[in-house]
C-alpha cells in the first residue's frame, strides 16, 4: 500500500515483533477471562496465562529499546508468579 512506509529492514522486523506481542497480549486477555470462577484450581491457570502476557510485554520492551526494564521484569516475573501461587495454596486453598 502506498501510504504505509517501511524505512529500513530493522524497523520492519521491529514492527512484526510488536504485532506478535499485540496478538499474544490479546490472547492473554481472552484467556484470563475465559474460565469461570467456580472451576477447580482456575487460579493456577490464570497465573500461567498471565506469564504469556508478561513475556509478550518483555519482548515489546526489548523491541522498544528498554533493555534494563525488560531484564528487571524478566528476573522478577517468576518470583511474582510463584509468590501468588504459594500464597494461594497455603493461604486460601487450605482454609
Amino acid at each position: 500500500m502506498a501510504f504505509i512506509e517501511v524505512t529500513d529492514p530493522i524497523s520492519l522486523v521491529k514492527s512484526i515483533l510488536l504485532i506478535i506481542c499485540a496478538v499474544l497480549v490479546i490472547l492473554g486477555g481472552i484467556g484470563i477471562l475465559r474460565y469461570k470462577d467456580d472451576l477447580e484450581r482456575v487460579m493456577y491457570a490464570r497465573i500461567h496465562i498471565l506469564g504469556i502476557a508478561d513475556m509478550a510485554c518483555i519482548l515489546a520492551l526489548l523491541v522498544l529499546g528498554e533493555y534494563l526494564l525488560a531484564a528487571a521484569y524478566f528476573v522478577m516475573a517468576p518470583f511474582n508468579a510463584h509468590a501468588i501461587a504459594n500464597a494461594h495454596y497455603y493461604g486460601e486453598e487450605k482454609r
Binding site: I4, V6, I19, L33, M43, L50, A72, A87
Partner: protein, 86 residues
C-alpha cells in the same frame, strides 16, 4: 505513515484491552485473583507508558514505568506473604 508507528498503535490498543481484562479479574472474590489482576495491570500500564514515551516523546513516562516495574512485583510479593500468613 510509518509501519513501526502503526504497529505501536496496534500494541497500544491490545494493551488497553488487556488492562480492562485484568481490572475485571481484580474485582473477583478471592484475594489471589486480585493479585493476579494487579500484577498483569502493572506490567501492561508500564508497557503503555513506554509506548507513550516512544510515540509522543514524553520523557518522564519512562521513570514512572521503571517505578511500576520495580514496585509492582515487590508489592505483590509482600501482599502474598501477608496472605500466606508469614
Amino acid at each position: 505513515m510509518d509501519l513501526l508507528l502503526i504497529s505501536e498503535y496496534i500494541l497500544l490498543a491490545a494493551l488497553a484491552i488487556f488492562s480492562l481484562a485484568t481490572i475485571r479479574i481484580t474485582t473477583r472474590k478471592t484475594i489471589g485473583m486480585s493479585l493476579v489482576g494487579l500484577s498483569g495491570l502493572a506490567i501492561a500500564v508500564a508497557t503503555i507508558l513506554i509506548l507513550i514515551k516512544n510515540i509522543y516523546g514524553i520523557g518522564f513516562c519512562g521513570d514512572i514505568a521503571l517505578a511500576l516495574i520495580v514496585l509492582g512485583p515487590v508489592g505483590t510479593i509482600a501482599f502474598s506473604k501477608v496472605l500466606k500468613g508469614d
